[in-house]
């Protein structure tokens, strides 16, 4: 009954190509600064992205202070507020989540998990990070530019993004934002091509596509999608830059600016929205799919059970990836586009719920009849399921076109997307860091601090965003610097806002325990050994921990089985590494 070909030990194909000679760094600078080793690049990406994340966290504090206690903090005026929300959103979505999942986890895990010595284009990989860093610096520079950063909202909708009524619209803010995004996309393209080509071309002998860990599948699919989606944003940025600097009218029809007619005509503000969301919706899944993949591996490893329905999981990832390109206009139901689009996009959007639901079922069915170790990574994985299910289900409200009408542009939307693509992926990132830190550093992160960090973050984030849905249901619009008097809003809503702010401050401050843990455990953590979680995937089978340049010592591994041989009946241990030939440990009857 359980005899599926996934783990079947087939003949391992002969080596097609010789083992490649790697680039050898000759100095400290080429080893750690202008590094070409994907593992070093991964750490550079991760530390940069986490630093940007800390800035974005502080920005969220500032905006919550204004929402919870309007008028109390005089330094947060309307201009500053809109600048904070804009920078928070853009930083988190693009410069933190995308960079961390693909640049960080992608770089570290792809070569190790597929059994490669490095990315296939190490030099381009190095450039990718430095171009990304440049994009971050341009973005940060806008805080110090005249007029400050743009306050157009992270969606940057023209015409307001480039007009004087918006902070940074007629000053430096929007120009630096667009420039930074363009540079980011250039940098990402270099990295993304690397990830895709490495997965397709550099897998170890025996590592068929259908033996790859779901982490690799998730990052691979997301990279492929990003290569298709980011160009739409790039084009939008170029056009808006032209509108802003050269006076073109790609996105500007005949309009009035502060009472004065502008010399523009014929452009379409909706065109930008289509370009933006053609990128923007796949972007949600560019963040989500790596999280899906990673969480699958966390659950499987720590429940000591094979991931349930592996093939279905792979096909669901691919189906979500493909479908996510035909749902973008569900962000535009009330945008004034042709309303008949609503039928199509509502249908595609709700269909995407089906493969997504399959993934959720398979995660919890992996827990079922497992042997669940409630380690810190497992706790984060469980919390991910709770928040992702919650946020995914509210997506069924917003995706269903007519239900979206009263909820669109309200706090319901803010609560929904924070739950599903803010909190949920970040919980996976934390879980993944607790899981792979021992491989990266050779030491375990402190467990007590980890549990403290986990409980405050998970329960706090849930307490922030769950009640927020109900503010939106009541009709409170998002992106309001102050609610002011609204006849339909009872005073209790202000109390709720103050509560949310206080919880946000606590959750934010708790992240310092995580940062402390990262540094403290570097020297004082328990020594991990090469495979502390007793996991099957190749990155835990390296001859050295942390793995050295080239990963595999003398010879790259040969893969004999899929990534999920946990608790195989008859096996001596409750896990069989992917590079373990069957004869050593499996009884004849069991398929290994």
């Amino acid at each position: 009954m359980v005899d599926v070909p996934l783990g079947h030990v087939g003949p391992v194909p002969g080596a097609d190509i010789e083992d490649v000679e790697l680039y050898h760094p000759h100095s400290w600078i080429t080893k750690y600064v202008f590094a070409q080793d994907a593992k070093v690049i991964a750490i550079q990406y991760s530390l940069t992205a986490l630093s940007v994340g800390l800035i974005a966290l502080v920005l969220s504090w500032l905006m919550r202070l204004q929402l919870g206690f309007p008028g109390v903090f005089s330094f947060i005026d309307a201009n500053a507020y809109y600048q904070f929300i804009t920078m928070h959103g853009m930083m988190m979505v693009v410069y933190v989540l995308t960079a961390l999942f693909l640049g960080g986890f992608g770089n570290y895990l792809i070569p190790l998990m597929v059994g490669a010595r490095d990315m296939v284009f190490p030099y381009v990989n190095m450039l990718s990070f430095w171009v990304y860093l440049l994009a971050v610096l341009i973005l940060i520079a806008s805080f110090f530019a005249p007029g400050g950063p743009t306050g157009a909202g992270w969606t940057l909708y023209p015409p307001q993004a480039i007009l004087s009524g918006t902070p940074g619209g007629q000053e430096w803010g929007i120009v630096l934002m667009l420039a930074s995004l363009m540079v980011f996309i250039i940098g990402f393209t270099m990295g993304g091509l690397n990830y895709v080509v490495t997965v397709l071309q550099a897998r170890a002998r025996g590592m068929t596509l259908m033996r790859m860990p779901l982490t690799v599948w998730g990052i691979f699919t997301a990279s492929f999608m990003a290569l298709l989606a980011f160009p739409a944003l790039f084009v939008g940025c170029v056009m808006m830059m032209f509108d802003r600097i050269f006076g073109t009218s790609f996105f500007l029809p005949a309009i009035v600016e502060m009472g004065q007619p502008l010399e523009r005509s014929g452009g379409s503000p909706l065109l930008f929205q289509h370009l933006f969301w053609f990128f923007g919706h796949p972007e949600v899944y560019i963040v989500a799919l790596p999280a899906f993949g990673i969480v699958s591996d966390l659950i499987s490893t720590h429940a000591r059970r094979n991931i349930f329905g592996y093939r279905m999981m792979v096909w669901a990832l691919l189906a979500i990836g493909a479908l996510s390109f035909v749902v973008w206009a569900h962000h535009m139901y009330v945008s004034g586009m042709n309303p008949y689009f609503g039928f199509f996009f509502a249908t595609t959007t709700l269909i995407i719920a089906i493969p997504t639901a399959i993934k959720v079922y398979n995660w919890i069915l992996t827990l079922w009849r497992g042997n669940i170790h409630l380690t810190v990574p497992m706790l984060f994985a469980l919390a991910f399921i709770v928040t992702f299910v919650n946020g995914g289900l509210t997506g069924l409200f917003l995706g269903n076109v007519v239900v979206d009408v009263p909820l669109s542009d309200t706090m319901f939307v803010v609560a929904h997307f924070h739950m599903v693509m803010g909190v949920a992926p970040i919980l996976v990132i934390f879980g993944a860091i607790y899981h792979w830190y021992p491989k990266v550093t050779g030491r375990m992160l402190n467990d007590t601090l980890g549990k403290l960090h986990f409980w405050v973050t998970f329960l706090g984030a849930y307490a922030i965003f769950f009640p927020m849905h109900y503010l939106g249901l009541m009709g409170v619009p998002r992106r309001y610097y102050e609610m002011g008097e609204m006849s339909f809003v009872p005073p209790s809503a202000h109390t709720l806002n103050a509560f949310i702010t206080i919880v946000a401050l606590v959750v934010g401050a708790t992240q310092l325990t995580f940062v402390f843990n990262l540094f403290w455990s570097l020297r004082h953590g328990k020594v991990a050994g090469s495979n502390p979680w007793r996991a099957t995937t190749l990155e835990w089978q390296t001859p050295e921990t942390p793995p050295s340049h080239g990963n595999w010592g003398k010879a790259p591994p040969i893969v004999y089985r899929w990534a999920y041989d946990y608790s195989v009946p008859g096996a001596a241990e409750d896990f069989l590494p992917q590079n373990q030939p069957s004869a050593q440990a499996v009884s004849g009857e069991a398929h290994g």
Binding site: V256, F308, A346, G475
Partner: protein, 268 residues
């Protein structure tokens, strides 16, 4: 054990919050009760799924927690179970989508007898235009906007002469009559939003978008801008007063001095 308990508490807490919290939608004042019904259906279906998934997780975490001697069950996949779950999910999704699409069809099909009302947004105020006795709104163009013509109404179009212009004031509507709101923007994207009407649609410069609704009760309601339109966004408020037919007609008569032709006599 503690983890399973907390998962159960999250479910209980969420459901209790949903049932007991004082924050719920505003009492409806338009014909779109169908939207509210679809939201209720969606709450039931999604709520049931959320409760089932998290409780099942809690059960697994308790029942299959690591204990000495426990071994996980090895079963890579079960086609029957997966097929079954996919089908059930498909049915649930269809149960939400189908009523949604039917209501959407109504939402975008404007009744023949709807009265046109123009709503113009500009940073950061609302203006309105009602057709005069001829029942027709005259042509307009943003390029005609000037100090004496804030809505950019065409002077040449005979239909525009009797149009009633209300700048920055309050909109009045008769109860029980379908209204087709024609939405224009002079500068950036705004969004015409009345929570009680369940009505929301962007005003996009360069085009005219629309939304229709029938006010079903009299009263005063707030118009909010729901699309970020610059620093003045939260201050962009308006008022709509829904009146009985005879009160509305009396008010309309009194507006005769505010026709476009009177406001801009040079047009003659």
């Amino acid at each position: 054990m503690a983890v399973a308990l907390i998962l159960v508490l999250i479910v209980v807490g969420s459901v209790a919050f949903h049932l007991l919290s004082p924050w719920w939608w505003t009492p409806i004042a338009s014909n779109w009760a169908y939207i509210d019904s679809t939201i209720v259906i969606t709450f039931w279906i999604t709520g049931a799924v959320f409760v089932a998934v998290v409780l099942f997780m809690a059960y697994c975490v308790y029942r299959f927690r690591h204990q000495p001697g426990r071994q996980a069950h090895y079963e890579p996949e079960s086609k029957r179970l997966e097929l079954w779950l996919t089908l059930v999910t498909g049915i649930g999704v269809a149960a939400m989508l189908t009523p949604g699409l039917f209501v959407w069809r109504q939402f975008i099909t404007v009744p023949q007898d709807a009265t046109d009302v123009e709503i113009l947004g500009q940073q950061w105020q609302w203006s309105f235009r009602l057709p005069g006795p001829d029942g027709k709104l005259g042509a307009s163009d943003i390029r005609l906007v000037g100090p004496d013509n804030a809505l950019g109404i065409s002077r040449e179009d005979p239909n525009s002469q009797d149009d009633i212009v209300i700048e920055g004031g309050e909109l009045r509507l008769p109860v029980g009559r379908p209204i087709k709101a024609l939405l224009r923007s002079a500068d950036v994207i705004h969004d015409f939003y009345i929570p009680e009407m369940r009505a929301k649609m962007d005003l996009v410069p360069g085009q005219i978008s629309y939304i229709w609704f029938t006010p079903t009760r009299t009263g005063t309601f707030e118009i909010l801008c729901a699309e970020l339109c610059g620093v003045g966004h939260p201050q962009m408020r308006g008022t709509v007063i829904v009146q009985e037919q005879k009160d509305y007609q009396a008010w309309l008569q009194a507006q005769a001095s505010r026709t476009f032709a009177r406001l801009t006599p040079t047009a003659q």
